[in-house]
Symmetry: C2
Subunit: 229 residues, 2 copies
Amino acid sequence: MDTVNTVKAATGPIRRETLHHGAVAELRAMILAGELRPGSRVAEVQLCGQLGVSRTPLREALRVLAAEGLVELRPRRGAVVTPIDPVEIGAVFEVMEALEALAGGLACRRGTAEEFAELDRLHAQLHARFEAGDRPSYFATNRLIHARIVAMARNPSLEASYAGFTAKILRARSLANYDAERWRGSLDEHEGFMAALRRRDAAAAGSLLADHSRRTADAVLQALNGGSE
Amino acid sequence: MDTVNTVKAATGPIRRETLHHGAVAELRAMILAGELRPGSRVAEVQLCGQLGVSRTPLREALRVLAAEGLVELRPRRGAVVTPIDPVEIGAVFEVMEALEALAGGLACRRGTAEEFAELDRLHAQLHARFEAGDRPSYFATNRLIHARIVAMARNPSLEASYAGFTAKILRARSLANYDAERWRGSLDEHEGFMAALRRRDAAAAGSLLADHSRRTADAVLQALNGGSE
DNA sequence: GCATGCCAAAATGTATACAAAATGGTGATT
DNA sequence: AATCACCATTTTGTATACATTTTGGCATGC
């Protein structure tokens, strides 16, 4: 019985999870982990057994995930995990670029000293993990840094949108490992926007974060289109 | 290629709507129209009778609307129409500003000549409705213009996000009628970004649309906070 | 008079039953 | 041999039944 809340903290009144809420979290995790592969059909009864719930909460969960865009519901013909469409991913990145820029600028104006210090600490960790050549850890820290910047923007709507887009992109990234050169470039760009953030230069931070996002997009899309074999 | 559109389009192929899909559309319309007032409790069985469906599809619809942020689900304690929180609306507008800027820039680069011509036509209509002093018609055309610009950006992700934010803002706007001076200013700003769009000036169009969005936000928030009595 | 505890009614969460449509395979016809 | 039609199976969509939990009121006690 784990509390798999993506957003809400553990505080507040006794929070009794409902089954469909838990099912949403589990299914989302399964999709993001690639356990349910893009394009694959979602068999309701099979998942019911797997998750230990009946069809009702499972179906409610599927509607939520469909609203998030992670699954597609075809009337009377079942659900499929949304296939990864490079065109769609490109569109998502395009919006991400704008959101990163917004987040960077707002973070400069609204982040606390503690948050900036934490950002520095995470950036050092990113560096260390690059040196160690540990890709998965690097990406984990990378994601955390961006999430923190978004959190520093103090805008729940931005945060929610960002999380949704991140989920979509994450699935694409998992099957598009870009090369070592791009990895180096990514780190350099982090250096760049970190410098801007340190001096609270909102315009520069936003602009550099947007650049970083665009270059990441280019790399991911290139890997998606060309580097399958 | 089925189109699961938020707007009920003309019947394409055999379009077999499911009940919960229809319920989502109806409930969303009711919420946006203010028929279900913000903060009010949503009684399941009552709505079941009203919509002519049983609890199952209605509940599925409520999950979807909760994912969209239009209702809030409190475990074991029913659903409420999400109250209008000026702070949240402010946050939404902040993101909208970035999306408008993005849409304006992309529209300049990707819109077709026909679309720009249509935009001109709608802008003239906007003018006429301002002169006629017909507020509701003005706002309808206004929304249409912005929707068209977003469509010209050729980015379904942007379009979907934009639609979601628009829905939230619309509810706030419906109870915040701003004054005549702002109305005039709004029209002037439309003139401004239309000029930029006509000459395909992406940077200017984006910037002016962002300005327009920010000023609209200011007016709405001011009306929300101060102008209740 | 006010607070507390308990019970009844209502509402939510979940499971299951039923109806209708889609899927897949078999057999008949050309 | 290929195609079409038809039927059984499976699967989805919906309704309803059941189990908990919340809620409101009433009685009891202080």
